[in-house]
């Protein structure tokens, strides 16, 4: 495998009943790139993410992350090897504070168990301090530091998306999967998000992104993959893809 590839997906297939959500999906993601996955509703984008993050087993095919097969890896082990994600429907922990949400993101980077925690040993206190400060720095990164002690569920929707992003970043991923991060955001917030994503990519984190906001996709992504009915119909730079007749057809219907 080439050295600058971080994720390679080979003929990944997943069917629900007779319907293919993913059909022989094959693509590569280069290290440090921002790659967008686009396609009409029901094209299989979220299924792709679920299969990649161990939430659903594929029927066929495999995914290799940095020379390691991740196809059937349990979801909780992925954080440890450097994969994190956000969700299309925000999945924060609403009853915990904003800061605590991000602190959970540091779970796999720390290791304090039941006994140490119950006895509050000095090593545990030290680790807690590290978790707290580290989590706080991620909050600062997305601009939520002043809301650190608010219940996460009380944040407005756009802020919840940013919180989810901060939580995913806190696990210090090499590959970050973002499922429609801009949906439900207003123009200003989307702009802000684009800036943050660029900053994240600048730190060497590879981003795979499902997104409907074409403006955002065109602005920030290096490569675009287009899915339709579970199949890859186009792949290339944003400009190439934009003018591809098959893409236009998938989005607008064919010209008669």
């Amino acid at each position: 495998m080439e050295n600058d590839v971080i994720l390679s997906v080979e003929s990944l297939t997943k069917a629900f009943g007779g319907l293919y959500a993913l059909k022989d999906v094959t693509f590569l993601v280069k290290k440090g790139a921002i790659k967008a996955v686009i396609g009409p509703n029901g094209a299989g984008k979220t299924t792709l993410f679920d299969v990649l993050t161990g939430l659903q087993p594929p029927d066929r095919g495999r995914a290799v992350f940095l020379d390691r097969e991740i196809t059937c890896m349990p979801a909780h082990q992925l954080a440890g090897i450097g994969i994190s994600r956000t969700f299309q429907t925000v999945r924060i922990f609403p009853g915990m504070t904003v800061l605590e949400n991000v602190m959970v993101g540091l779970h796999h980077r720390t290791g304090c168990g039941f006994l140490k925690a119950a006895l509050k040993l000095p090593s545990e206190r030290k680790e807690e301090k590290f978790i707290r400060e580290e989590a706080f720095s991620y909050l600062e990164m997305v601009g939520l530091e002043l809301m650190a002690h608010f219940p996460a569920g009380s944040l407005p929707f756009g802020r919840q998306r940013l919180l989810e992003l901060a939580r995913a970043l806190a696990s210090r991923p090499k590959l970050l999967l973002l499922d429609e991060p801009a949906s439900g955001l207003n123009t200003y917030e989307t702009e802000e998000l684009g800036e943050i994503l660029r900053e994240i990519a600048g730190q060497g984190i590879t981003i795979l992104l499902v997104e409907h906001d074409m403006g955002l996709v065109m602005r920030i992504s290096h490569e675009v993959l287009v899915l339709d009915y579970g199949e890859v119909i186009a792949e290339g730079t944003p400009l190439e893809v934009k003018d591809d007749p098959r893409v236009i057809e998938a989005y607008l219907g064919s010209e008669i």
Binding site: F93, H107, C112, A117
Partner: protein, 368 residues
Amino acid sequence: MVKRGFLATRGIARRVWRNYKAFLLFSPFVLLLPLWAEPLGRSISLNIVYLMRMVGIFTLTAVGLNLLMGYAGQASLGHGAFMGIGAYVSAILSTRWGWPAWAGILLGTLLAAFVGYLLAPILRLRGHYLAMATLGVGIAAFIFFREMTGLTGGNVGIREIPKLNLFGLEISSKKAEFYFVWLLVILVLLLCQNLVRSRVGRAIRAFHQSEVAARIMGVDVASYKMKVFMLSAALGGLAGGIYSHLQGYINPSQFSVMLSIQLVVMVVVGGMESIWGSVAGASLVVFLPSLVEALPKWMGNVPAWVRQYSNYEGLVFGAILVLTMIFLPKGITTSTVEFYRRKTRKAAELMGEEEPVSIPEEEVRNGK
């Protein structure tokens, strides 16, 4: 620069106060109870001490159940079974083989945890299914205690269980038992509070609120569920073991499904996701029947239906549970704390003080 002397002590004191406020406020109140109950009259104060031992026992179990139900979100309607296991193991070992009480209690605790470990596969069930399965565990345990007559003495149960004895130190008076139980309870509450405010506690609360997100963040949900279940079973076993030595006799009816339901009432009414809520819930469940029983003594004539309270005790607990779920879904403890906070905030507003818009960074970093 390292702070020394007075400054350092003050820093530690402040941290202890911030983290253990409830303990510093309530522990003296509870531990000095035999003293301040004295002026109420000899019989009442004895009664209170007597009942408080039971509150302590139930608190031990309830706080374990709270970790499981309140924090981890996994219902158990059969937690009485673990109390029963602890009680029977310790009772059998001490009456038949002359084991010292502490060893029996320890083994009962470990065995309850082990049974929890064996039952871990049912934790794959969710919601109502898990509730049903644990209810089944409770019923099965009750039948086991009743029917294994050779081992458990059947319906008669086990009598003449020796008093608590800690390494040669006899704990036989009610007051001594009270102190023993409550020192242990406060220790356990302290450990539990540390636990829920740690990385482990966050992981547990996280998968309660979104299992998928917790897994993506690297939380091994199945393993955590099992460990919490074992811990909560162990606390039930511990409480059961002590209970058998305090009570001196046990029989299956003490560990029926009714006990499991009462434990759930303690957790829900006291307050889910609240360590001290377990104390409040246990107090309510233990004191309510005695208060109603004591009514005729204080008020002279009471209607006949009050006298027959024990006949419909289950009904009253059911009603309390329903009303709590509707009006105080967070339980009495959490709701009271929130009410108090709202009130003080309102008072501050009335005084013309606005809420601080931005919090100094130092404070934000250090947390609550």
